[in-house]
């Protein structure tokens, strides 16, 4: 086949919703964009364990602790599913880690905010996992097979994450005045960063068109953000908490909530590394990687020793 017909074949598969698999021909730009997207997603799952990990030892009950532990463990699993999907595109795990640890790769900015109180565990599960689900469900139909399959597993596991978060918020908001205040404070701090999770507005998102064509993105940032806001505002009512946006108003004509101006300067500032916890997060990851060095070496040495022993026994 000529390059031309390879490309035609690829386009035809996209058109017909036939999945692209690792050994199929694909344009270089598709491969590169996917590696970036999947690895950013994987890094987000891994770094995303840190803000919640901060509260595991201080969870208010054994039940909450077991749940939080299980949730954080799931996020590790999500990171691993996604790293292995990225590796099918021809990049090694070490390279992926290296990109994260050197600061070359990005991860979701939301994880650069601190978790100050227990209510943040509620707000993160409800809002951050909620936004992630909104983003991820359409990706179960993404064009790249291994990515889509990883997303199916991720989405199956995510729904408990959001529900446990909402349950924490519900318990606090029905508790004492201090507890309710704590829940409101968490909502105040996590609301705007959560709706920024969908990324810059469509008119400032130059790659959206190409990514939608490739079916590695199925809705635009603003479409998903609107969907999230519409759903979440109703949920806040159940909690009896108020969403910290004075301009939030139901728009009958649009059939959607109108919302206030998003502070994109803050968003870009955090992306550039100046969020409250960027340095701490990266340092923690680097330390974990470096601290694990001897374990990786010991396991490799042990496996080598066992191989040799079984060779000797066979001889």
């Amino acid at each position: 086949m000529t390059v031309h017909s390879f490309e035609e074949n690829f386009e035809e598969k996209l058109e017909k919703d036939i999945a692209i698999e690792p050994r199929d021909w694909m344009p270089d730009t598709y491969r590169k964009t996917l590696i970036r997207q999947i690895s950013q997603h994987a890094h987000s799952e891994i770094v995303g364990m840190l803000p919640e990990g901060n509260w595991i030892t201080r969870a208010p009950s054994l039940r909450r602790k077991a749940v939080l532990l299980a949730k954080v463990q799931d996020e590790a699993g999500h990171g691993l599913y996604l790293y292995s999907a990225a590796e099918t595109l021809g990049i090694s795990r070490d390279e992926l880690y290296d990109q994260l640890h050197s600061g070359k790769a990005k991860y979701s900015s939301i994880f650069n905010y601190p978790t100050l109180t227990w209510a943040d565990m509620g707000a993160i599960g409800w809002l951050v996992d909620g936004a992630a689900i909104m983003n991820q469900v359409p990706l179960c139909r993404t064009s790249y097979g291994p990515y889509a399959r990883a997303m199916v597993r991720v989405c199956k596991e995510e729904s408990f994450h959001q529900r446990q978060g909402f349950e924490i918020m519900l318990t606090l908001s029905k508790g004492t005045a201090v507890q309710k205040k704590m829940a409101q404070d968490a909502l105040n701090r996590w609301w705007w960063p959560s709706i920024m999770m969908f990324g810059p507005p469509d008119d400032n998102s130059p790659h959206t068109e190409q990514s939608m064509h490739w079916k590695i993105k199925r809705f635009t940032n603003d479409e998903l953000r609107q969907k999230f806001i519409d759903v979440t505002v109703e949920q806040a009512k159940i909690l009896g908490l108020s969403v910290p946006d004075a301009d939030l108003k139901w728009n009958e004509a649009r059939g959607h909530y109108d919302y206030g101006k998003i502070d994109w300067d803050e968003f870009w500032n955090v992306v550039k590394g100046n969020g409250p916890c960027n340095k701490e997060r990266l340092e923690t990851r680097r330390k974990a990687w470096e601290g694990g060095e001897w374990v990786r070496e010991a396991a490799a040495a042990y496996s080598e020793k066992r191989k040799q022993r079984s060779r000797q026994e066979a001889a």
Partner: protein, 101 residues
């Protein structure tokens, strides 16, 4: 250079993971992971792929031992089966009154 030569020396090998979700069903490919050896691969597979009782049996195969057909040759590879519809039971015209066949 082969992929193995470019591989980082320190990186644990990659394993493909296959899981039988319940007795009586086939093992099915679920993904891959890194581990120093087969035993560790099985233990990691338990933690990564069966946190919700998704499996009763795990197979792991080091990825480099997996051989696959070439997708670029799919057309000629599977072509011989294309025109043999008589391999399907519906190919045969039989009377309606015929039962249990």
């Amino acid at each position: 250079m082969s992929q193995q030569e470019t591989e980082h020396k320190s990186e644990w090998p990659l394993w493909e993971v296959f899981i039988r979700s319940k007795a009586g069903l086939d093992h099915k490919h679920v993904g891959s992971l890194h581990a120093a050896d087969a035993q560790m691969a099985i233990e990691n597979a338990r933690d990564v792929y069966t946190r919700r009782m998704e499996g009763v049996s795990i197979w792991v195969v080091e990825s480099k031992y997996l051989h696959t057909s070439d997708p670029d040759e799919s057309a000629s590879m599977y072509e011989p089966a294309n025109d043999k519809i008589y391999r399907h039971p519906t190919f045969y015209n039989l009377p309606d009154e015929l039962k249990h066949m």
